[in-house]
């Protein structure tokens, strides 16, 4: 029973992490129909900022980190994606791939490709016991943060004016523009939010691994993409659900696979996800039209 609960906590934690990453990708996809590969690099840059600001007290460092990554996200939009806003999905996807390669190799150019150790505040690696379960502080942080972020997003999208505009833009960008939504503002905010999400992911992820490498963004972005896809593209609830589903599958694989197969965990997870897509090609939660109207 305890083992099962332990796995359950792991699954929820991982699910939260993937849900955060998927929401960041999903928000931009909703507004711009851009599956932003570069979001992985936002995560990576967030970790490098943590590494560079480690001399500051952690609340200040992490706040600065959030602001900086949001800024980087907005900058990439301004420099690379704005001129492509009317391009088709494939072009945007390629552009985001190019931005991702650019940012990744820029970091290689500046800091080299060697992994670096990130000094962390002492509390993150402790664990507390609840009803006989050992729960790491990082896991607790992840779960609490995700709950807060999800609630904040719900309030934002239901109540705030900007949130409403964003939903309208996600539904029909051109129509939203015609009724007075300022496109640049909405898209810039979507990128800023996705940058903040990416930075949350990067703080939580780095607190676990305490290392940074220039290629560390790839795995989380891949999981986020996969989560967004099985959740149903262009649907924020779907993105969150997809994140949790992928998290649960991953932990289930970890629990079920014999040790000889455990290095292949991700391979099994992705195969399972593709298998889900056989039965639900449109994703688990699908409400928004992705096909263009004729």
């Amino acid at each position: 029973m305890t083992t099962f609960l332990q796995y359950f906590v792991d699954a929820v934690t991982l699910g939260c992490l993937f849900a955060l990453a998927a929401l960041g990708v999903g928000i931009v996809f909703g507004v711009m129909r851009l599956a932003n590969f570069a979001a992985g690099e936002f995560i990576m840059i967030g970790s490098y900022v943590m590494y560079l600001l480690a001399f500051l007290p952690w609340p200040i460092a992490w706040t600065l980190d959030l602001c900086l990554v949001a800024l980087v996200a907005v900058l990439t939009e301004r420099v690379a994606f704005r001129s492509l806003r009317r391009a088709d999905m494939s072009t945007l996807l390629i552009a985001s791939f190019a931005v991702s390669i650019f940012l990744q190799n820029l970091i290689v150019l500046i800091y080299g490709s060697r992994a670096r150790a990130v000094p962390l505040p002492a509390f993150v690696n402790q664990s507390i016991s609840v009803f006989g379960l050992q729960i790491q502080v990082v896991s607790l942080m992840t779960i609490l943060l995700t709950v807060v972020v999800l609630l904040a997003l719900v309030v934002f999208f239901k109540r705030a004016n900007l949130g409403l505009q964003m939903r309208a833009a996600a539904e029909d960008f051109r129509m939203a523009q015609l009724v007075g939504t300022r496109a640049n503002r909405v898209v810039a905010w979507a990128f800023a939010i996705s940058g903040v999400m990416a930075c949350f992911v990067s703080i939580l992820l780095t607190s676990r691994t305490s290392t940074v490498t220039p290629t560390m963004g790839l795995t989380p972005i891949l999981y986020a993409f996969v989560a967004v896809t099985i959740g149903g593209l262009g649907n924020l609830v779907g993105s969150a659900v997809g994140g949790f589903v992928v998290g649960f599958i991953t932990v289930a694989m970890q629990a079920v696979l014999p040790p000889s197969l455990s290095p292949y965990r991700d391979a099994f997870t992705f195969t399972a996800v593709i298998a889900i897509l056989i039965f639900r090609p449109q994703g688990l939660v699908s409400t928004v039209k992705i096909e263009e109207r004729v």
Binding site: R33, A35, A80, S83, L84, R86, A87, D88, M89, S90, T91, L93, I94, A95, F97, A98, V99, I101, F102, Q104, N105, L106, I107, V108, L109, G112, S113, L218, L222, F225, V226, V228, T229, L233, P263, Y264, D266, A267, F270, T271, V273, I274, A275, L277, I278, P281, Q282, G283, I290, E291, E292, V294
Partner: protein, 360 residues
Amino acid sequence: MPGWSNKLKSQEFWTAVSPVVGLVVPLCVVVLLGAAFASHSVQRVMITTMLLIILTVGFYVFAGNSGVLSFGHIGFAAIGGYVVGLLTVPITMKAVLLPNLPHAIGKIAMATIPAMIIGLICVAAFAAVVGYPIVRLKGVAPSIALLAMLEVIHQVIANWKSVTGGDSAFVGMPIDSTLFAVLWWTVIVIVVAYLYQISNSGRRLRASREDYEAARSVGIHVTFERYKALILSAAIMGVGGGLYGHYLGSLSPKILYLGLGFLGIEMLIVGGFHSLSGAVTGSVAISMVSELLRRGGDAAFSGGVPGLQEVILAILLLVVLVRMPAGLTGGREANLLALSRLWRRPGRSTPTEESKQMEA
């Protein structure tokens, strides 16, 4: 086949073959000149360029014809590379390097060409198994699913120590991807890609790229056409991977992975996403740029700077996407009958059908 002599005289026939002649003849001429006069290092550049042409054309057969982007195609090349390698590494070498190899494979060592053929069949079979659920997806979902597939392939190769040697290099393949061996394969690949493109099936797929709904409304089974293109392009990628292994003499999981995949995408976009000539032109152009960067980098910084080349190529790709979305060829094929057209200024490239749709 009846009427071949008539066909040879007809204008349509020559119009039809002119793109492939326009690509293959210059390629052969350059390689023959290179074989006769060029230095060893220039010949090596020619070989890598042709290998990249094969990989880009393989990628184009699916992505260019269907309009569906794939980040995972390099995974097919990885499978091809390792399968061909496993078949050609000498038995004694396998006994030493991969002692835990399954018995049947450990006792096989064959010549390169039959191994390549078996390799491409294996890759095509793999694509046939995993491909259908992927091509059924819509929008960007297939691109993401193919990326996930690449990750699966990569992980299996990197961890399956008894067969692939895991993270360490997989060595011992005979180094026989010579200038001419690669040239013949490149010519075959270009011809096959072109024949597919002008076949009924290829035309149906290209119609669906221009207008998905209209193509469906005239009865084209878009999913099935995409599926066929995926299998063919996977087979070509398999050939490319096999030749790559036999060019380097070794493979490691990192070689046939996202870096090379990115290069392939960049080549196709820079050349022109919608034409075979674009795939070839882009491969040659980017190979030249990257060779210049490599040499220039070596001269300026003695040893090159890690990351610099990728940064510059990424900026180049972004500039092309914004300024010249149809690429160098503008989506046209090489046309011998109207060589004069090549000299007319291409002008600002026309928006593709998809982008017009998005605006509408």
